[in-house]
Amino acid sequence: MPLPGLLSVLIFFPAVGALALLLLRADDHVWIRRAALTISVVEFIFSLLLLAKVPVTGAGYSLSEFHFWIHFPPINYHLGVDGMSMFLVLLTTFLTPVSVLASWSSISHRVKEFFVMLLLLEVGVVGVFLSLDLFLFFLFWEVMLIPMAFLIGIWGHDRRIYAAIKFVIYTMAGSILMLVGIIWLYNATGTFDLPRIQEMLASGTPLLEPRAEMLLFLAFFVAFAIKVPLFPLHTWLPDAHVEAPTAGSVMLAGVLLKMGTYGMLRFCLPLFPDAAHRAAPWIAILAIIGILYGALVALVQPNLKKLVAYSSVSHLGFVVLGIFAFQSISVQGAVYQMLAHGISTGALFLLVGMLYDRKHTFEISEYGGLATPMPKLAAFFLFVALSSLGLPILNGFVGEYLILIGTYLTNWRWASWAALGVILSACYLLWSYQRVFFGEITHEKNKTLPDISARERTILVTMAVVTLWMGVGSSFITRRTAASSQTVIEQVNPQRLYEGAAPSFKPSPIAGAPDADALAPSAAIARPIVIGHIMDVANGRAAHAGKISTERRASR
């Protein structure tokens, strides 16, 4: 029997781990936690192997695994990874141990089931990112639904059952339509295999008439848009986030929302390029509404966790806008923003969860002046909030900036409206920060709140290091995602390659750097652009950033 490939190991190792957890005694909480942490850390280490094994600039899928599964219709077990999916897998395997640590003491009942569900969730999500068979993708997409619903429904807060059911119904509604779409596509192409369908498309044979293509595009897009969530399909998200336990929120915001944008990049654009072009203006408008609406609602939120949830709606609007701007630089930015949002919003939810563990409320009015009793937590919160609002040298900046540049090239009006969202994000984050951490302590009990523990510090330091590293070392990631972003753009705009892009965006070898990696279009040049255009495009942003960094210094 051949050994299973690395990708299969990545998918099924957490499942095996979950089975092993089931064998432990239910009341032995300490060992259950330790075992869950070990499993998820080992999984993370496995996933790091991807960095070594996936070629840096190679387009196409590597580490493919292919087995026949079901004969009729021919559904195959086909896995593969490229730069984009590799980092999303890494994000998942990174956030899972973080979530385990975050649940260390806050989950005290039905502990075993909790960690089993968390690991099963990881199985589903990693499977989604690694599947190259449409059907297999759908299968993992559905499988991950149940563990997430359980995480919300069992270990959530007061209205958890309502939130869990809403989450399930919304997701099911989209995904069943997607199933019909997948079957329709199968009838048109005779295969569920993504690379083969892409070959057919690349060979130029039209597979679908325009109307059918549009319907199919919508069948896929609606399922993904619900997951993202795109305005006006976002209403499940605030409920799910607010009611979910911290680990659930971290996984939901960090990884699950990205399944939607990943699906758009992997399926909607390459498979239905013409329909995508026709729908793009409408989708961009929805994305911009989402950006502004999410930010405005976040601005007036009295509930801290809901605020972070709506900020996700706003940030994911940027990702969708970047994808549907059809520029390789904006797609690159969208991919980056997906990762950055996963880290920084994940960290925000962790921090909000830590506040909740101490006070058992999310109401901003219950807090105030927390910087005095808990300076360390306050410092971390500020750091994360700044990264989330897009301060340069932290991770949020790179993605948003690339997205705005790309969008500007396609349509400057979209970019201007979206840039407004950047300003608003600074407003709601800093204002809420001020209300929670600065000012007088209005509640007597808040004076004695304990600062972060060693475990919490471990989590937060890890997150902060990753945030900073993604901000300053962004080319490590962009070099590896460039090829797959470029592929998406080539598939969606076969006829207009580089058209409309300013000359400076064409790949140009950098003098004295014969590194083949640097030849990847748009990746290596991302940073010169950042410096060169910063005043032109993100004028308001730069001013804000300056103000923020002054404030940050002041707070220290």
């Binding site: 079901i70 004969h71 009729f72 219709p73 039905r110 759908f138 299968l139 559905e142 499988v143 639904l145 149940i146 619903a149 359980f150 429904g153 069992i154 958890r160 059952i161 869990a164 059911i165 399930v168 119904i169 099911m172 509604a173 069943i176 339509l177 199933l179 019909v180 079957i183 329709w184 199968y186 009838n187 319907l215």
Partner: protein, 489 residues
């Protein structure tokens, strides 16, 4: 012509089931032990099931074309035989608990099974009628088997009155079809004129009669009351067996008679839509688990009718493409039967003596009190919901595929909408099991016992549900065999 020995081999399963049924009644005065009768009935069910392979070894028409032995009938014999076996095992502890006579019960189950077998093999309408009556009359009695319960009596009476009405329709339809074609043998109706209004009326009446048996809207009103009142193992039988038999006949009529195929596409389209909505919308507001599952079985009949719409649509352009659509129906019936029997078996045990605990709230906290049972029931519910790695998922997939194959995109979309509605009430039960705290009465009550025979039923149904969801290839190979369809055509 005088029947040959081969003819008898072709009906061997029915002969065995009827024979054992009679034997059980004869043995009743001499044995007291219910376990004894359970064992005999289980062996009888299995023996008949095994003999369907023998019957399958003698393909061809039997008794001058009254019945047909082909892979299709073998498939349904295996299915109803397995259903009978599982129901017998599940009923043992129930009869003990309710102190009901065992021998008659099992005899009736076996008679009903024989009737379903005849339905699946009938090649001639009057034979089909005999099969339908055999299974129906036994079912009426079974529904009222708890004589001292008002609900059980109501269930039997309703089922009997409406059922005989529907059977009358069916019989009248046969008469009209005979008048139009001069024959009652399906394979001789090949040349019938599809535009004769007599024939149209006849098929319409047959469709109404069978529509009642499969609980298709607007002929579904009886279902929740009958399912609720009947003893739970009997409900399990109803939801799986007679439905499979009636669908088998319906498919044979509307797939083999070109005149019927030609006309009925829209009828099935409308029936499917009505049935799906009637079932799913009705299920949303139920608080009794048996009624909930009854409405869910109406909904599932609607999904199967979607595949019928696509079979009849494809039937217009003849053969090739229709194969997968037949297969979709057969696969769905198997996956559905397994799941429903498993679910009703659990409901039967949790119901307790006198079927007192049938409210959804009685399942609160089951996930913590009896995790294995809750997990098994969740598996069945997820299969009904159509989530991957369960049999129900592939069942739904094949029906979706059949609908898309025949360009019935709107029907597929309506079915998708219905599946989403279904997600609500199936998931709600899972929510109650895992996420609600039990009330004081339930948490004080002792754990519900699950005797060995029940565990056997649950293990078989659960493993089969997962197996069909992970490795459906063997059964697909069987139901996609061109010979299966070829003989139908």
């Amino acid at each position: 012509m005088f029947p040959t020995p081969d003819d008898f081999y072709r009906v061997l399963p029915e002969v065995l089931w009827c024979g054992f049924g009679t034997l059980l009644m004869l043995l009743q005065p001499f044995f007291k032990s219910r376990q004894f009768f359970t064992a005999v009935a289980a062996i009888a069910a299995l023996a008949g099931t095994a003999c369907s392979v023998v019957a399958g070894a003698f393909p061809g028409p039997g008794f001058n074309g009254l019945i047909q032995s082909d892979p299709y009938s073998t498939f349904f014999h295996l299915l109803v035989g397995l259903v009978a076996f599982l129901v017998v095992l599940a009923a043992g502890p129930y009869l003990d608990r309710e102190n009901l006579p065992a021998a008659e019960f099992y005899a009736l189950v076996l008679f009903a099974t024989a009737g379903m077998g005849v339905l699946a093999g009938a090649q001639e309408l009057l034979t089909a009628f005999v099969g339908l009556e055999m299974s129906s009359i036994a079912s009426y009695v079974l529904a009222g088997f708890r004589r001292d319960s008002l609900k059980s009596g109501e269930s039997a009476l309703k089922y009997f009155l409406l059922g005989s009405f529907a059977t009358a329709f069916f019989l009248y339809g046969i008469a009209l079809v005979y008048g139009a074609t001069g024959t009652t043998q399906l394979d001789k109706m090949f040349a019938a004129d599809p535009h004769s209004s007599l024939l149209k009326l006849g098929f319409a009446m047959i469709l109404i009669g069978l529509g009642f048996k499969v609980a298709a809207a607007p002929f579904q009103i009886w279902t929740p009351d009958v399912y609720e009142g009947a003893p739970t193992p009997v409900t399990a039988l109803f939801s799986a067996g007679p439905k499979a038999g009636a669908f088998a006949l319906l498919l044979r009529i509307f797939a083999t008679v070109p005149a019927a195929t030609h006309l009925w596409f829209w009828a099935f389209w409308i029936l499917a839509v009505l049935t799906m909505f009637a079932g799913n919308l009705g299920a949303l507001v139920q608080t009794n688990i048996k009624r909930l599952l009854a409405y869910s079985s109406i909904a599932h009949a609607g999904y199967i009718l979607v595949a019928f719409a696509s079979v009849t649509y494809l039937g217009n352009n003849l053969s090739d493409g229709a194969g997968p659509a037949y297969a979709a129906i057969l696969f769905y019936l198997v996956s559905y039967a397994l799941v429903k029997i498993g679910a009703f078996t659990i409901v039967s045990q949790i119901g307790g003596t006198g079927e007192k605990h049938l409210a959804l709230d009685d399942y609160a906290g089951l996930g913590q009190r009896q995790p294995w049972i809750a997990a098994t029931l969740s598996l069945f519910l997820l299969s009904l919901l159509g989530l991957p790695i369960t049999a129900g998922f592939f069942g739904k997939l094949y029906i979706f595929k059949a609908a898309v194959d025949s360009h019935l995109i709107w029907l597929a979309v309506i079915m998708a909408v219905n599946s989403t509605i279904g997600a609500y009430y199936y998931f709600r039960l899972i929510v109650i099991m895992y996420m609600r705290e039990p009330n004081a009465e339930i948490s004080a009550a002792p754990l519900v016992a699950f005797p060995f025979s029940i565990v056997v039923v649950l293990v078989i149904t659960a493993i089969a549900t997962v197996a069909l969801g992970v490795a459906p290839n063997p059964i697909l190979r069987f139901i996609l065999d061109p010979a299966l369809i070829g003989n139908l055509r």
